[in-house]
Each structure stands twice: as C-alpha cells, then as structure tokens.
C-alpha cells in the first residue's frame, strides 16, 4: 500500500492530514500541521507581490490573511498552494520543505473565489475527483465523497450538476472536495466574496464549524475585515507584499501596530493633541496617558502630535454652545454612526451612538465631543501615506 493510500484508507480518521503516510491508526486525529513561511519574495515584472513575507501558522489554527487589493495575500496563498512559485524564500509544512514541490504534490485543499466545480461532473463526482486521482477504488471514493457531502449538508444534492446548484451550495461542494483528499492544509481564497450577505454570514460560520470539527490548519484569504475578525484564530494584516501585524483579532483591533493596521482594521479618527511629557498628551482638553507606536521620535513638551481614536472611544452629546456640528448620520442597526465637523480639522470625526438613544442626533445640531475610551496610539503630526483610510 502506498503512503498516499495509507493516509486515505484510515476509516477511523476521515480528515486526518497526510502527514507522514504511516499505517492507518498510527497517528492521532489531532495531527494537524504547522505552516512556516519564511521571507517569501515574488515579483510580477516590476511589481513586488511578495516582499519578504514571513508567517507562521500553528497546527489546527485558522489564520486569516487580510489586506487591501494588491497587498499580496492571494499571491501568498497561491505560492503556498504551489500554483505560483516563489522567487525566493521557504515554505515548511510540518517538518517538510515544500517550497519547490509542484501543486499536485503538495496535498493542499483549496477553495477558490470563483466557482470552480467541474461542470461536467456531479457534486458527488466533483468531491470524488481528488480521490480518483489518488486511485482509490470506486466504492470507497463514493462512500467518502458522500460522507463529505453529508458534512457540508448537501447529501441530497449528490447527483446534481454544478449548474443545478446555487452559489452557496457550489462553494460547499468545493469545500467538501477540498477536504476529501485529507489535505495537509486547507486554503480558502475569498470563498465567500461571490455570495450575498446572508449566505456569506451563514457559510462563514459553517466553514469555521467544519474547520474546528476536522481540526485542520487553515489559511483564509479575505479583504473583508468583519469576515477576518469573526472567523479567524489569528489575523495577519498584509500591505504591499509584507506582513504588517499578526495576532488574535481583538489584539489587532485594540492594539494595532501602526497607522495602516489601525485604519485598515476598523475605523479610526485622527485627533490633534499636544505633548505634555513622555507618554502624556493633551487631547480634547483631557490629559491622556498613551503608548507610542506611530513613529514618534521624541516626546518634546509642547510638540503637536496626532492620536488615533476608534469611533467607539468618542462620546458625542448635544450642546448648543459647542462649535462642533453634526453633519451626517448612518444607521447601522443597533448603532448610529455620526460624522461631526470640528473647527480646525480637515476631515470630520466619527463616533458611534446607541441607535435607540440617538433620536436627537440629526444633521445640523451642535455637539460636544469627549474621549470615552483609550486612544490607540500617538504619532507624529505629519501624515504618512496610507493605502486605505477609513473615516
């Protein structure tokens, strides 16, 4: 029996990755593998898609690669899958160096952004395709394919062709197909972006459920911050082919490493402040202790600086004697986002108010703004160029 058959023929462990090719039962079900990407470089002509990208994904972890268009996240995933070759760098899966392996020998399960089911095959045949390539006998691959379709809740649709399935169902079949080969790592390249909001949310939860159930290491590429924050164990924020920050969603949101991460992940306001002493600034009339993470070289008392503050860390109250004017409101369900024009600021400041208590917040009213939470960090008053700023 070949090593490939050995890991596929283990009935007791349907989803165990093809780590070592030991005989069935020799590995524990939790044999998920780590992924270590070191200093990857990949250029397309003069464009550097990956510029020294490094990342470590722990076993059974779901890592979200988050970044704006052109940040290199999809290239990183394709290099990991072997669909693109890196110019330099190294990729380890477990202890195995797969940097120079072709895609078909990497044992990576991949779900694509575009619908990728083979139109000439039924859902069952699609799921069984990878098993057919691995030369499993017909009854066995049919059984396994049915089990996987059952896992994604589509056992009744086994004999349907892709054109007879909805977009959400097609992506579920694609997920089952990727898992059927018991991949070392599951790669998801924006698998939800072609779906409508309701399906996207449901399928996102389902992907997470299945990933936890299977216990597989997964890398999920997305440009949707909400998606990344809600599904991932850790989020890696990318920009211009480099890793900006990696960490648990809450950590990245609350303690962004730099202005790019702060603006890309959620919204942030730039507030004018004055340095009083080291780690002490005055902002909106208040003295605030603050950590420096934005490239501030020295704390010179009296220096003009900027602090970044999340909208939820600003409080807005009606005050006809104030000079700040509320200029717009956006209903977000439970919250109301208001934009306030502040004298001396080029851009409005944004704040979040509970929708039920914000009946007074209509455009034109004068408001007072105060800090209700901690600022993210302080940085020099000059403006770095950001590829993505959100108000």
């Amino acid at each position: 029996m070949s090593a490939m058959h050995a890991h596929l023929d283990n009935p007791g462990n349907l989803y165990m990755p093809a780590a070592t090719g030991k005989s069935p039962g020799a590995e524990k079900p939790s044999a998920a593998l780590s992924v270590e990407i070191s200093n990857l470089h990949r250029a397309f002509g003069r464009v550097k898609a990956l510029d020294g990208f490094s990342l470590k994904v722990e076993p059974a972890e779901l890592m979200a690669l988050l970044g704006p268009s052109g940040s290199g996240k999809t290239t990183a995933l394709r290099v990991l899958a072997g669909l693109e070759m890196a110019d330099s760098g190294r990729i380890l899966v477990g202890d195995r160096d797969i940097t120079n392996l072709p895609a078909h020998r990497r044992d990576m399960g991949m779900v694509f952004q575009a619908y990728s089911l083979f139109p000439n095959m039924t859902a069952l045949e699609n799921v069984a395709f990878g098993l057919r390539v691995r030369r499993l006998c017909r009854p066995e691959r049919a059984n396994r394919a049915r089990e996987l379709l059952d896992l994604v809740g589509l056992s009744d649709e086994a004999n349907r062709y892709p054109h007879q399935l909805s977009g959400g169902q097609q992506q579920r079949v694609a997920l089952a197909r990727a898992l059927a080969i018991k991949p070392r790592v599951l790669l998801l390249d924006e698998p939800l972006s072609a779906l409508d909001a309701a399906v996207r949310s449901r399928l996102r939860d389902e992907i997470r459920r299945i990933q936890l159930e299977v216990g597989i290491t997964a890398v999920f590429v997305t440009h949707d911050q909400e998606e990344a924050l809600s599904i991932a164990d850790r989020v890696a924020v990318m920009s211009q082919g480099r890793l900006e920050q990696v960490g648990p969603p809450q950590h990245i949101y609350n303690e962004p490493a730099n202005a790019f991460v702060a603006f890309f992940l959620g919204s942030a306001n730039r507030l004018q402040a004055t340095v009083l002493a080291t780690n002490l600034v005055q902002v909106l009339g208040e003295k605030v202790r603050i950590e420096e993470r934005g490239g501030l070289e020295s704390w010179i008392p009296g220096a003009r600086v900027e602090v970044l503050v999340r909208p939820e860390s600003l409080s807005v109250t009606e005050d006809s004697s104030a000079s700040n004017r509320l200029i717009s409101r956006t209903f977000l369900g439970t919250m109301l986002r208001v934009a306030v024009a502040v004298p001396g600021y080029r851009e409005p400041l944004y704040a979040l108010l509970p929708a039920k208590e914000a009946g007074w917040a209509v455009p034109g009213v004068f408001v007072r703004i105060a800090l209700s939470g901690s600022p993210l960090f302080v940085m020099s008053a000059h403006r770095p160029t950001l590829s993505s700023e959100k108000g």
Binding site: M110, N120, G168
Partner: protein, 266 residues
C-alpha cells in the same frame, strides 16, 4: 419572403435530384447512382478525402487547442497577435497558400511532402481561422484558469487536468471545430487539384465533364449524407438536453426545486 427563399434554395436541389434519376430518352433510372457507386475511383477518392480529413482534424484540434490554452493560461498578452495570425489564411489566396506552404515544408521528408500528408497540412492551415475561433470561444466560455488550478490542487497533473477536466468541458467546441474542418476538407477542390491529389471533389469534377448524371447523383448523395450527419448531431444534442430537463423535472416532482446560481442560498 420565406417561400421565395425556400424556392431559391430548394428548387435547384429538386432539379438536381430529378436530373440524377434521368436515364436514356428522359426515362427514370438509377444508373447514375449504380454506375458512380460501382466505380473503384469513387471509393478510392472518397477514402483519400476521409483519410486526409481525419488527419487534418486531429492535427488541427491538437494545434489549435494547445495554442488557445497556452495563450489563455500563460501568454494572454499574445492573444491579439495569435488571433491576427490565424486570420492570415483567409486573406491569402489559396494558390499562394498552396505554393507557400508547400515551399515552406519542402525540407520535410519525402513521405510527407510527396504524400497526402502534405495535403492534410495544407488543410490545417486553411481551416485554422475557423477552427481557432470555435475552440477559443469554447475556452473563453469556461472558467479555465480556476478549473486548472482546482484540478492541480486536488493532485492532478497537467495531463490529467487536460483529459479529465478540460476536454470534457470543451467537447462542444472541439466537435464543432472538428466537423467544420472535416466538412471543409471533403468539399475542398482547389488545393487538392493544384497538388494533383485525386480527392473526392477532384474526382467529382473530372467525372462531371463526361458523366454529368453520375456527378450530380454523387452530389445529391453527399448532400443527403451531410443532412443525415447534421440530423444525428441535432438528435443527440436534443436527447441530452431532454435528459437534463428530465432530471430537473424529476427533482421538482420530488419537491426539490432547481435554483439558479446565486439565487439560493443556503
């Protein structure tokens, strides 16, 4: 208008059919058919045309499919150049094409240059503008690069991806290009005549000079043959469509609706 068009196209066919059954002194006769079908040269010329046609089809499909896939997957910048290049045989006169291709391929071994293989190669060039477009439109109609990536990530090598994923999904385009090339070869006269090969059209023309009834009888047979083949293709196609509709109908009968892509959505 439709009636006039029908008369315009059908009247000559009826007249030809009527003429093909004409015997001595205006009597009805099958002699035109029996004489033509009994001729050794008829079968040899037809056989030559079919062999050359099959060879041209095989070569055409391999070359054009390979080119289209290569352009689509690896060299999209070259698409315009390749499209323009494949149009050249349309604007170049056939005589120039024959001399050009023959001259260019003169370095090839004699078993190619002095045999019908050279004719097949000429026909590959002649059919290229049409075959390339049919195949290329088929390639563009499927999500090729994602399917290739999916196949490779599932462990299939290039050979397997092409034969189990791409070819089945390009079957329609390949059949279309193949039939078109084969039809072109069976009806082509000038190239074969210039290269002195006695293919079916060349023999038909020769026979027509002295035995007009036989030539017309064979033309009628050719036409009927074409109609039968096209009818068979249409029947097979509609049977498949019915199968698929039947599947959907069956699903609906079981209370499972067929939901179009992007509509559902569970």
């Amino acid at each position: 208008m439709l009636g006039a068009a029908t008369v315009y196209f059908v009247a000559p066919l009826i007249a030809s059919a009527r003429f093909s059954f004409e015997g001595d002194h205006g009597s009805l006769s099958l002699s035109g058919y029996t004489s033509a079908l009994g001729s050794h040269e008829f079968w040899s010329s037809l056989s030559l045309s079919v062999e050359v046609g099959l060879g041209a089809v095989a070569l055409e499909l391999v070359l054009m499919l390979g080119t289209s896939l290569w352009v689509y997957l690896h060299a999209p910048k070259w698409r315009l150049f390749v499209e323009t290049l494949t149009l050249v045989p349309i604007v170049v006169p056939v005589v120039v094409l024959v001399l050009g291709v023959s001259g260019t391929l003169r370095f090839l071994p004699s078993f190619i240059v002095f045999t019908p293989v050279i004719l097949a190669l000429e026909y590959v060039v002649l059919a290229m503008p049409y075959a390339y477009r049919i195949i290329d439109s088929g390639v563009r109609s499927i999500n090729l690069s994602t399917m290739v990536d999916a196949g490779r990530s599932l462990g299939a090598n290039w050979f397997r991806v092409i034969f189990t994923v791409l070819l089945p999904n390009l079957k329609g385009a390949l059949l279309g290009a193949g039939f078109m090339t084969f039809g072109l070869v069976l009806g082509e006269y000038v190239m074969a005549s210039l290269l002195s090969f006695n293919t079916f059209p060349v023999w038909l023309e020769t026979v027509g000079v002295v035995h007009a009834t036989e030539a017309v009888a064979l033309s009628v047979l050719s036409l009927l043959g074409t109609v039968v083949v096209l009818g068979a293709v249409a029947i097979v196609g509609s049977a498949r469509a019915k199968d698929r509709l039947g599947e959907r109908g069956h699903d609906k009968a079981q209370g499972v609706s067929t939901v179009p892509v992007g509509a559902d959505q569970r």
